[in-house]
């Protein structure tokens, strides 16, 4: 079915070391009375970072740089657009990507019906987001930890979670690796480095920051990717997590799946800024807006984000 409205995947973000925001005072050194010259020097340094002094009052236009452009690689026929980078994943990977997306879509079809028939209590489909799941998953290392919200089954599928395992969790049976404790779609797999889903939205985002911090400081070359939706990005945990990731320099990719809706709430009722991508600047985090239906764009952007995040 042709979708008129594009499902944008906003904000594949990467945490970049920002020299300009470094230089947080070494907190345990007090400014003593006799250290006035040093104090003044630091004050001048901080003043320089604050922008020029201007006599005319001007409110910064929130929409001056909006809307952030959308990165897309494929044209409407699936061909690489001029100027765009072809990821050249090779036939084997391309076929796996395609198969996983189709398999996910078909599995969703069954489980949706099964839920409507009352045979399982709950289900969330992944319709329209198959490319964003599989494209990003394929760009990661299999040992990069995934913190998700609840609509990332394509990531799990890519990594090898079997249809049987999906079913076991949805039916809460004794074979479920999660021991049948949670409602459907609350998957988790330590073997596949996929953190168990929890219902409260956005709680995973600051956890992703903490996990990434620990990874970095244990010398690992892996990173964390954290998925969440446009609605979850309104939660305080989102703000908390991004701010902490920037100040503590944690290797985490924040991946917002903006499908324009939070249940029935349209984005116009969710935020008034330029999507989620625009929030990156506020935290000192680089951001990109990507067409989530374009698997090559998602793949390229995730790969680039991962490179930056891990190489810090």
């Amino acid at each position: 079915r042709e979708k008129e409205r594009e499902r944008e995947m906003l904000g594949v973000w990467r945490v970049a070391t920002r020299e300009i925001f470094r230089g947080a005072p070494r907190g345990f050194r007090y400014q003593s009375q006799s250290a006035i010259p040093e104090g003044r020097e630091k004050a001048m340094e901080q003043d320089r970072k604050m922008g020029s002094i201007v006599p005319h009052m001007e409110f910064f236009d929130a929409y001056a740089n909006a809307p952030i452009s959308r990165y897309r690689v494929m044209d409407q026929n699936g061909e690489i657009s001029p100027g765009a980078e072809d990821p050249k994943v090779g036939k084997e990977m391309a076929v796996k990507m395609y198969k996983d997306m189709v398999r996910l879509h078909i599995m969703d079809g069954y489980l949706y019906d099964v839920q409507r028939q009352g045979r399982i209590s709950f289900y969330m489909t992944n319709y329209g987001e198959e490319a964003s799941h599989v494209g990003s998953a394929a760009a990661l290392d299999s040992h990069d930890t995934v913190y998700g919200q609840y609509r990332e089954s394509g990531v799990l599928m890519w990594r090898g979670f079997t249809i049987q395992q999906f079913m076991d969790q949805c039916y809460s049976n004794k074979d479920d690796v999660g021991k049948g404790r949670q409602m459907p779609v609350h998957y988790g797999s330590d073997k596949l480095c996929f953190q168990t889903i929890s219902s409260p939205l956005s709680t995973q985002i600051p956890q992703a920051t903490g996990y990434a911090y620990a990874l970095k400081h244990s010398g690992s070359q892996n990173c964390v990717i954290c998925y969440f939706g446009d609605g979850a990005a309104s939660e305080g945990d989102f703000h908390a997590a991004l701010n902490a990731a920037a100040t503590l320099e944690a290797p985490v990719i924040f991946f917002c799946r903006n499908n324009q809706y939070a249940i029935s709430t349209e984005v116009q009722e969710q935020y008034r800024g330029d999507g989620i991508a625009s929030r990156g600047t506020g935290y000192g985090i680089e951001a990109i807006r990507v067409d989530g239906n374009d698997i090559w764009a998602v793949y390229n952007a995730t790969k680039a984000a991962r490179r930056t995040v891990v190489e810090e």
Partner: protein, 319 residues
């Protein structure tokens, strides 16, 4: 301070342990983290942005990766933004994943309790909100020696622990604290004073009050009160308390936190059920009033003072 010593031991003995929170870098507003950043470096002892939900959420993730996260919330009064991360996430992390994941390495420390001038937002004892959460452990030390041992045990316990430090004691409590590394067991209460006429149960700053009340009752009434420091509220040592009440026949529970729904209610209900036929009088609770923690002037009226405890024990004995 004892807490500071415990943190030094914790970081020394475990290379994966980190301490973080607001202002911990320079030593903390109560000096609990003095010297840590200098000794262990700013990647192990660091300031976070001002955001409790972020501090605890970050700690959950760090612990999920297998490191030991020692998070500080500056005052227990400010722990509430982190309720979701504690109750819905930390407490359920292992259970909901079928044992695949856990954040047992998380310890959240926060100063609690009355301090004379704290008012509404620097005096609260919020332990009851957390004792109601299966999956967490809740620990409240009653003095420096207890604090060091219990904190080390809490940090090393394979479950997320909320550790409330009575702030009044940072400066006023003077005690001989053993040097070096030692732990005190979680889930085990301490009988501070033995007696056969009544059982007084408390924790944290209230233990001192109970001991003073017991001494007064011995002098004036000749009553011998058994005082129990619960130490761990979740899971609490009901065996020690029930054994004591079976002996004395009387229970008085006392805590600074307000009366209704305070943790004393759980103890009273449990003991009533378990020790019903051995009770000489109904279990009694001497607690803070059912009001927000008041301003300076009304603090003594709010708190479960020695006088109130003595009167309660007296009427219990004379029932």
């Amino acid at each position: 301070t004892a807490v500071n010593e415990a943190l030094h031991e914790a970081l020394e003995s475990d290379g994966k342990a980190v301490v973080f929170g607001e202002d911990v870098g320079f030593g903390g507003v109560f000096r609990c983290t003095t010297g840590l950043a200098e000794r262990f470096g700013r990647d192990r002892v660091f300031n976070t942005p001002l955001c409790e939900q972020g501090i605890v959420g970050f700690g959950v993730g760090l612990a999920a990766m297998g490191h030991r996260a020692i998070a500080e919330v500056q005052f227990a009064d400010y722990i509430f933004p982190a309720m979701d991360q504690l109750v819905n996430e930390a407490a359920k992390y292992r259970y909901r994943s079928g044992g695949q994941w856990d954040c047992g390495g998380l310890t959240v420390r926060a100063p609690c309790g009355a301090v004379g001038h704290g008012g509404h937002y620097h005096s609260q004892s919020p332990e009851a909100y957390f004792t109601h959460t299966p999956g967490l452990k809740v620990v409240v030390p009653s003095g420096p020696r207890e604090a060091k041992g219990l904190l080390l045990a809490s940090i090393r316990d394979p479950n997320p622990v909320v550790f409330f430090e009575p702030k009044m004691m940072y400066r006023t409590s003077v005690e001989d604290v053993p040097e070096g590394d030692y732990e005190l067991p979680l889930g085990e209460a301490r009988v501070v004073r033995e007696g056969s006429d009544a059982t007084l149960v408390g924790w944290g700053p209230q233990v001192k009050v109970l001991v003073a009340a017991a001494k007064e009752l011995e002098e004036t009434d000749g009553a011998q009160c058994e005082v129990i420091d619960l130490r761990t509220l979740l899971p609490w040592d009901y065996e020690t308390v029930c054994a004591s009440v079976s002996k004395t026949g009387r229970l008085v529970v006392s805590h600074e936190a307000s009366f209704t729904g305070g943790f004393g209610a759980e103890i009273a209900a449990f003991v009533s059920e378990r020790c019903f036929l051995r009770l000489e009088s109904p279990p009694v609770r001497v607690c803070g009033q059912d009001t927000p923690f008041p301003g300076h002037a009304h603090e003594p009226l709010f708190l479960p003072t020695q006088q109130k405890v003595v009167e309660a024990v007296r009427s219990s004995i004379g029932y």
